[in-house]
């Protein structure tokens, strides 16, 4: 009962703070007569948002960007996890491949985007590739680290019970890697949104990043802000999905910190 009341009080506090910020923003823009093309008022952004949500072209752009985010994230996450397993389980592979991984990791993936667009064109493919490259590394690094976190004695317990290499992997090592893999997924999903938008900035014919460029070009700054809020909402929802899968699947680890964050 008291916990519910506390949750309600917290929500009220958040709403009040948000209302205060928006009011202050609205008042400041009107009071100082700031031009709409520099900083639009919250009310005009809301108007733009409503207009956006009512137009069918918006949903065409939304589907393109969401498709790029999810396809890129999926490819990058699966690829990163698989290579992470290979590198994490084989000392030889670790020794041979890890230097390349580090070298590629330190390279800013955003800087590769123009080349990818040249190679794969202005369609969705180039954006999917850029997003996949960005989502790849958090999964690779976290899988390698996670696989190494399995306690030696638990592995010995299985070995003594005549377990095969594969049984040791899927019964103990991969399970122990799961918390870290989910942390990687959480990082990767947020980076995937950035990847898709950056890709669209470099060259695209559709998508929310493309829409932002269009609005900016037409000095429709309220429209740009509206798309930004939608992108932020996409990021929050995707993060929330990953976080709830995390708590549900990795149920044996305490998740206090995660809950507080979400």
């Amino acid at each position: 009962m008291s916990r519910h009341r506390r949750t309600a009080t917290n929500a009220l506090q958040h709403l009040l703070l948000l209302a205060a910020i928006l009011l202050l923003w609205e008042a400041a823009v009107r009071l100082f007569d700031v031009p709409q093309i520099v900083l639009p008022t919250p009310s005009s952004i809301l108007q733009a948002l409503i207009g956006l949500l009512g137009s069918s072209t918006f949903y065409r752009h939304l589907v393109v960007t969401l498709g790029e985010i999810l396809a890129g994230f999926g490819l990058g996450a699966v690829g990163g996890t698989v290579l992470g397993v290979v590198i994490g389980l084989s000392p030889t592979m670790y020794r041979l491949l890890f230097p390349y991984v580090v070298a590629f990791e330190t390279m800013p993936k955003v800087a590769i985007a123009p080349i990818i667009v040249v190679w794969a064109g202005y369609g969705m493919t180039s954006k999917v590739i850029i997003t996949a490259l960005i989502a790849f590394f958090p999964l690779l690094a976290n899988t390698v680290m996670g696989l190494r976190s399995a306690p030696r004695e638990q592995i010995e317990m299985l070995v003594a019970a005549t377990a095969s290499r594969w049984q040791v992997f899927h019964m103990v090592q991969f399970r122990h890697a799961l918390p870290q893999i989910f942390t990687g997924l959480d990082i990767a999903i947020v980076l995937s949104v950035i990847g898709a938008i950056v890709g669209e900035f470099v060259g695209a014919r559709a998508g929310l990043g493309y829409l932002i460029l269009q609005y900016n070009f037409n000095f429709n700054i309220a429209g740009t802000f509206a798309v930004l809020f939608i992108l932020s909402a996409i990021g929050i929802v995707l993060h929330w999905i990953v976080a709830s899968l995390h708590t549900r699947i990795v149920f044996w680890v305490e998740h206090d910190a995660l809950h507080r964050e979400a």
């Binding site: 004695e153 638990q154 010995e156 070995v159 019970a161 005549t162 399970r175 044996w252």
Partner: protein, 268 residues
Amino acid sequence: MRDALSQTAPGPDMLAISGLTKRYAGRGGEGVLALSDVDLSIARGQFISVVGPSGCGKSTLLKILSGILERSAGEIRLDGRPMSGPDPRVGLVFQAPQLLPWLTVTENILVPARVQKLDLRAARARAAELIEMVGLTPFATSYPRELSGGMQQRVGICRALIHDPELLLMDEPFGALDAMTRETMNNELQRIWASSGKTVMLITHSIPEAVYLADRVIVMTPRPGRIVDDIAVDLPRARTLEMHNTPEFGRHVARIRRHFNSEGTLDA
């Protein structure tokens, strides 16, 4: 002492170790001799304890017997057949129970059965029996974090018995428990051993625990790890805690302790 060793086993040997040697590769060329030419045989159904200070090789011996470590030389026969590597006829209990936190008590116990691809229906029935034997039936579907240390170690023992091994190896299984729980677990282990008829090798730091539980106590000393004494404990079964105070019990304990005094390793 050789004579004392050979005259013990009345029945056929369950475990026969001869010339077992383990040398760890070291930085400076010749490495460390952890086990030096160990000979040991254990009769079927016998309970033996191995005591010795840290570094005497008792854990190395157990790891080689469980197949986790490779030996440098020597021969091991289990029930007449040579052993190499992990063997389904062996059950292993660790110092920390090493339960998997994402599995329930029952599923943890079933791990060796799954690894060895045994019939799971039969294994489940057996798991339920073992859980009942250690008094954990109300916790069959609980997760390890919901259990006390003593309860977790009971689960560890059930897991070591699920595939009906012939030899049960125990590596200081009660070392992490408090004194009261430890005494309870000692009695429980005695009961489990008596009802299952398994051959047991118990590694322990505690001399009273070794004497209390065992038919024979093997004494090991370090540098290099070797067996220095093999004592038949002729106290009657079933043993009770009061026996700790009898002169016979004290005599056995004193004889074992003397070895460590002479080695200057009283800390054991």
